[in-house]
Symmetry: C3
Subunit: 137 residues, 3 copies
């Protein structure tokens, strides 16, 4: 076991707006790392997607979140000047955040009973990358 472990995983999204549950992929890397106690840091090198924790039991929760985010921040406002037309996705990325940390104990990521780790796609479909750093401690 090294004290640090770095991997990048790919996640293919297939809709314009989507929550993708990546909990199992992240836990698999924690297991690969051999770290029993420490932290797991997730980072997206993207500016129109996010990372968040939320309910993974009822898929309606994530669709309701996306619906409300779009009602608040989309469509692009007439005064928006970014020519690509995806300013709402950039806004949603900064609101949800492109980083997330997790606590590792006994080799497992701590999560609540109905809680999952989601990549939130706001401007898909695309191939996204998630960088995962695992530190013992």
């Amino acid at each position: 076991m090294n004290s640090s472990f770095l991997r990048t995983i790919s996640v293919k999204t297939d809709s314009r707006k989507q929550f993708v549950d990546i909990s199992d992929f992240v836990q698999a890397e924690v297991t690969n790392s051999g770290v029993r106690s420490g932290i797991c840091l997730l980072f997206l090198p993207h500016t129109t997607a996010g990372l968040t924790l939320n309910e993974n039991w009822d898929p309606c929760v994530s669709s309701d979140i996306l619906l409300t985010l779009d009602r608040q921040t989309a469509p692009p406002h007439p005064e928006h000047r970014h020519q690509e037309g995806n300013s709402p996705a950039h806004i949603q990325s900064s609101l949800v955040g492109a980083t997330l940390f997790l606590i590792i104990e006994d080799g497992q990521i701590l999560l609540g009973p109905w809680q999952g780790i989601f990549l939130t796609e706001f401007d898909g479909p695309r191939e996204r990358h998630v960088t995962i750093k695992i530190m013992a401690g």
Copy 2:
């Protein structure tokens, strides 16, 4: 002093929407840990609450934040499909975030002069848990 320290504290909320200042409880665990320099990681195993830093001097700040969050994301929209009816609380949790880290120096959490650490209840009253991991470094 170990290099890592993990505790869970309970926080009882008594309203549907509420900011609870947990700064003193978090500092107490940092003091218990004996860590003089390091980081303090807070995690909520819940999906309808959050963790945030904001002003702790004028309590009107937190009530104004809750009022505006509700004006933007509540009540549930007619198209919401999550049957529990608390989708706004899930949305607010992802906007504010269920994790928060703090820097420890000289045994103290770094905070601005009017800054406190808040658990933000969006679907109370409930008993909430905050997991606190403290790492030296």
Copy 3:
């Protein structure tokens, strides 16, 4: 090289609402620290500003984000009770967040090709401080 490194940098904002790209300042401190692999933790001791990752190529992205945030959360609502009148800035601070972590590999902060680190001013102009902690690991 120590295992921990703490610095505070000053950032002068010159508008009421502004994104300031601080990527180069943060990278300079990472270089100063001598840390090749680790994490960089940013913290604002302020409650009316934020820290976020977003596109740094087209400046219209950040102005569009500020415009939309203001349309959603400003001006102060008649029911707001905080007398300073800057409740929207406090709300925006909790939505964007006053902390941000970054991953360091080969002495460089990991960032996507069009991604920058921004201090987001919501109640300027002011002199702001960013505390930067760098840990090897």
